[in-house]
Symmetry: C2
Subunit: 505 residues, 2 copies
C-alpha cells in the first residue's frame, strides 16, 4: 500500500515512550501538516521514510515536548520504522483497511475465507491493526467460534505471515501442552531426554498467555532463550535440541501480537488456541508431535467432552499440515510439581533432571510418559518401549548432561533466582485437601508478579488428599516486591479459599 | 475501590499528550516506584490524589521528558484526576475488575444480568476500561446479540450511570432517527415546528457515530451546541426547545465512550443501538417519542423485516421506561436533501425553514410527517391533523422565527462555512439514475473530512430516476484541505460507481 494522498515532511524524534506494541505517532496539534491533512485524535496515519512505511495511531501534543516541524514516535514505531534522530519522514491519511470489513463480517457471523484470514494476518504482522481492532478480532473469533476450515485457514495464514524453518534431519519431533495447569513444566525435561536419545527437537516455546509462567519464562531463569534463528540452528545442530522463545525467531509472529491482547482480555478460545499451537509447530518444521491435554474442573480443558472436541480439532489441523500427532490426556485437577512461577518451576525441572530426592514425582512421571510417546513416534523406541527408555535416560544422568549442554549452547547455564519476599498461607482448619482451584491459584501467582518478576509465584506444600493440621502452611507466596506480595495476599484473603479442606473422617 | 497495596508518592506533570479518552500515566522505567511495585508495560495503575482516584494505563518512559520523581499524565487522565502541576499523587496496582469477568461470560454466551450491566457501565463511566476492554465488550454484544431483557438492563444501566433530567412541563416530546441515511437532518426543523406550537422539546443530539454528520455536528455550524445542563434548561424554559449536544450535559455518558470505540470499529449493533437511543431519551426525561426508521438496501435498516425487529425492540424498551413511542418507516433508498456533511446539511435545514425556492422538498416532507406525529402524540393537534398544523407552522414563518430564537438563546446564530476545495464527479455515461450507494457515499464524505471538518462532505445534484447527460455533475465533493479532497477522490475513483446509471429506454 503506497501512500495515496499528498504527504508532508517532518523530522523524526524519538520520544522514548514505550506504548508496548502499538505504534504511536505524536504530532503537535498546531502542526501545519496536522491542519493541512485534517488529522484529528486517534486517526490512523501512514508514516513513510525513504525505505519503509508503517501505520501508527495519532496522539496530538499540546505542550512543548515536540518542536514545530517534528514528529515524535513511540518505541515500537521507532523500531518498526528503523529511523534515526532527525530523519525526514512524511505522513498521510492511512487508507481504510479492507481486512477490517472481514472482521466485521465475522462479528455478524460470516465465515472467514482462507484469503481473508491471510489478509488479516498480514495486516496484523505489519502493525496495521490498532489495539481496538485486535481486540475485536479476538473477541469475534471467540464469540462466534471458528469452523474446522477457518481453523486450518487461520493456522496457514499465521504460518505464512512469518518465517518457516527447514531442517536437514528427520524426523523433527515437538511437544505442546494446552496450558491451564500451573507448574506443568515438562518441556525442558522432555527435550533433554529425546535429544539424549538421538532425536531432533528444536523446541520453540511461548511466554505466558494468561498463566503465571510459560515454558520460555521458566527456561529463561536457566539459560538465555532470546536466540535468533541462526543461533537456534547452531544449538540444534550441535545438541539435537533447544528450548528457546518462539517470538525471537519470528515463527508465526501474528501469534505473539494476538497473545498480548488475549492476555489483556484473559480470553483464549478453542479455534485460536489450535491455530496458535499448530502455526508455531508447522512453522518450526515439526513432523511428529505429542500434545499434553490436562483435564480438570479448573484446568483450561474442563471436561472429557471439551477434551474430545479440542483433540479432534488439534489432530485434524495437524494432519492438514502433514504432522503426525498424538494427544495425551493427563490429570488436570491440581498443579504439577511444587513451584508455580518461572524460577520456582525451573527449580522443579532441575530437581527431576538431577534425580534429587525431593524431586516432584508427578512432574517426573508426566515427562516420562510424554517423552515415551515421542520416542516411539520418532522411531527411537519400539512401540510400548518409549517410557522405559525415557526413564532409563533420566536415571543414568544422560538427560541431565544433555540439558546442561543445551543450556551452555544457548549462552550459558544459570541458577534461578529466589524471591526476597515470602509469605506462607496457613490452613484455617485441620482435615483433608479435597480440591485446588487452579485458576485462582494462578491468579494469586500472577498478582505476586509472575511471570514478569521471575522469582515470583508460589510453592505448594500440599496435594489432593493430603491430611493437614490447622495452621500448617498450604503454600508459600513468593514476590520480588512487598507491593506485589501484599496485592496477592489481599486477593487471597478477600476471596473464597483456593484450597478446600474438609474434616477428615 | 480504595487502593489495596502500598502506594508511593510522585509529583504530577501534565505532559500535554492527547490520547483521546484513554487515561494514560507515564512513568520513567527507572522510577523507584515502578521497580518497587513491579509495574510493567501496559499495566493498569490506580492513581490517587487526596480527593480522587482513577485507573490509567501505564506507558513507560526511557527518555528525559520526565524527571525522576515525576509521573506524567495524558490530557484525559489530567482532566479526570483534576490535579495541578506538581501535586502529590500516589500509585498502586489496580485491582482486577470483577466486571471484566462478566464481559468474558458474554463472549462465551452467558446472558448479562441487570446488576452486571450496571457494574460494567459504572466501570466504563469511571474510565476503568482500557480501549482493549471496551472493544471486547462492544464486539461481544454485537456477536452474541442482546436479549430483550439485556437491552432493557443495558439501557437502565446507561441511564443510571449519568445525570437524569426532570422538567416541570409535560408532555416532553422527543425524536430520534435511526441513522444510516446521509443528509437526513430533520431534527432542527421538527424542534422549531413543535416548539412554535407550544410543545416542550429539549433535544439532545449526538455527534456522528459512523456517518459523515450527526445532528449536533450540523447544528453546531448554526449555533453553539456544547451547552451544560443549566444553560440548556434556560434555553428550553425560554423557547420551549433546543438542539444541543448530548455529551456536554452528561446524559448517558457511557454511551459517548462506547460510541467512540464503535466508530473505530464501524460496528453499531441492534441491542446497543436501542440502548444508546433510549438511554439518552429516558435520561432526558422524554414522555413521548417519534422514531424515524429509514429503510433501504444501503441504509442502516436494510429490509422490512430488519425494521420490524428493530421497531419492536425500540417500542418495547421505550414502554419499559414509560415512554409513549411511535416508529415511522421512511424511504431509505437515497440521501435526504442535497447536502451530506455538517455545514452542507445545515444549509438544507435553513432553506426549508426559510421556505426558499431551492429548498429540498424531500427533507421538508419528512420533517412535516415526523413533526405531525409529535404534534398529535403531544396533544397539540387532533389525531390526523398533525401534518397540516406542521405544514402551516412552516409556511407562515413561525417555525423559522422559533428556530432563530432558539439559536440566539443557545449563544447566537451563525452562518455555516463553505468549503474551499470542491470537485464535481462527472457522469461516465448518459442515462437514468437507478441506485445510490448510501454507504459508499457516506464514506466518501467522511474521507473528505466530515464530520471533523465542518464544511466538508458532498452536495448531491441528482436523485433516483433522474435522467443525466454524460459529463454532467452527479455530486460535488467539498473539503477544507487538498489532502482530504484527494483522499476522497482516490476512494471514489478506485471503487465501483456510487451512483449507477443505466441507459434510458
Amino acid at each position: 500500500m503506497a501512500p495515496t494522498t499528498k504527504s508532508h515532511a517532518l523530522r523524526a524524534k524519538r520520544l522514548g515512550i514505550d506504548t508496548h506494541d502499538e505504534a504511536v505517532i505524536y504530532m503537535r496539534s498546531d502542526c501545519h501538516v496536522c491542519r493541512a491533512e485534517g488529522f484529528s485524535g486517534h486517526a490512523r496515519i501512514r508514516v513513510t521514510t525513504d525505505k519503509k512505511s508503517i501505520i501508527a495511531t495519532l496522539n496530538t501534543i499540546v505542550s512543548d515536548i515536540l518542536s514545530p516541524g517534528e514528529a515524535g514516535f513511540s518505541e515500537s514505531a521507532w523500531r518498526r520504522l528503523g529511523v534515526s534522530e532527525g530523519d525526514k519522514i512524511t505522513v498521510a491519511h492511512a487508507r481504510a483497511l479492507d481486512s477490517l470489513s472481514r472482521v466485521r463480517g465475522k462479528v455478524y457471523g460470516q465465515a472467514l475465507a482462507d484469503d481473508e484470514l491471510a489478509e488479516i494476518m498480514r495486516d496484523i504482522v505489519q502493525g496495521r491493526y490498532s489495539d481496538i481492532h485486535l481486540s475485536s478480532f479476538i473477541t469475534a473469533c471467540a464469540a462466534r467460534g471458528l469452523s474446522e476450515q477457518e481453523i486450518v485457514g487461520l493456522t496457514r495464514a499465521m504460518v505464512d505471515a512469518g518465517e518457516r524453518l527447514t531442517w536437514s534431519a528427520t524426523p523433527i519431533v515437538d511437544k505442546h501442552c494446552v496450558g491451564g495447569l500451573p507448574g506443568n513444566r515438562t518441556t525442558p525435561i522432555i527435550v533433554a531426554i529425546v535429544a539424549a536419545c538421538g532425536l531432533t527437537m528444536p523446541k520453540t516455546s511461548s511466554r505466558a498467555i494468561t498463566s503465571p509462567a510459560g515454558t520460555a519464562d521458566a527456561m529463561e531463569t536457566l539459560a538465555p532463550v532470546d536466540l535468533n534463528l541462526a543461533a537456534m540452528r547452531r544449538v540444534v545442530e550441535r545438541e539435537g535440541g533447544c528450548v528457546v522463545w518462539g517470538g525471537a525467531v519470528s515463527l508465526s509472529p501474528a501469534d505473539d501480537t494476538l497473545i498480548r491482547v488475549e492476555r489483556a482480555l484473559d480470553i483464549d478460545s478453542e479455534g485460536q488456541l489450535v491455530a496458535s499451537v499448530l502455526s508455531k509447530k508447522a512453522a518450526a518444521g515439526a513432523t511428529h508431535l505429542v500434545l499434553d491435554l490436562p483435564v480438570g474442573p479448573t484446568a483450561k480443558v474442563r471436561s472429557s467432552s471439551d477434551a474430545d472436541s479440542l483433540s479432534e480439532h488439534l489432530l485434524r489441523t495437524a494432519k492438514a499440515f502433514g504432522i503426525e500427532a498424538r494427544a495425551i490426556r493427563t490429570d488436570g485437577r491440581q498443579p504439577v510439581g511444587r513451584g508455580v512461577g518461572p524460577a520456582l518451576e525451573a527449580r522443579d525441572v532441575l530437581a527431576v533432571l538431577e534425580g534429587a530426592q525431593q524431586a516432584p514425582l508427578d512432574l517426573k512421571a508426566r515427562a516420562v510418559t510424554l517423552a515415551g510417546v515421542l520416542l516411539e513416534l520418532g522411531g527411537a523406541a519400539a512401540s510400548g518401549g518409549g517410557e522405559d527408555l525415557a526413564e532409563k535416560t533420566l536415571a543414568d544422568g544422560r538427560a541431565l548432561s544433555k540439558f546442561q549442554a543445551i543450556c551452555e549452547a544457548q549462552g550459558g547455564m544459570r541458577t534461578p533466582p529466589i524471591a526476597r519476599q515470602q509469605w506462607p498461607l496457613a490452613a484455617h482448619s485441620s482435615g483433608r485437601v479435597t480440591s485446588v482451584d487452579n485458576r485462582r491459584l494462578a491468579k494469586a501467582a500472577k498478582l505476586a508478579g509472575a511471570p514478569g518478576a521471575k522469582a515470583a509465584g508460589l510453592e505448594m506444600h500440599v496435594r489432593l488428599d493430603d491430611l493437614v493440621e490447622k495452621g500448617s502452611p498450604l503454600f508459600t507466596l513468593h514476590a520480588e516486591t512487598s507491593g506485589e506480595l501484599e496485592y496477592a495476599r489481599d486477593f487471597i484473603e478477600s476471596h473464597p479459599p483456593i484450597i478446600d479442606i474438609e474434616p477428615a473422617k
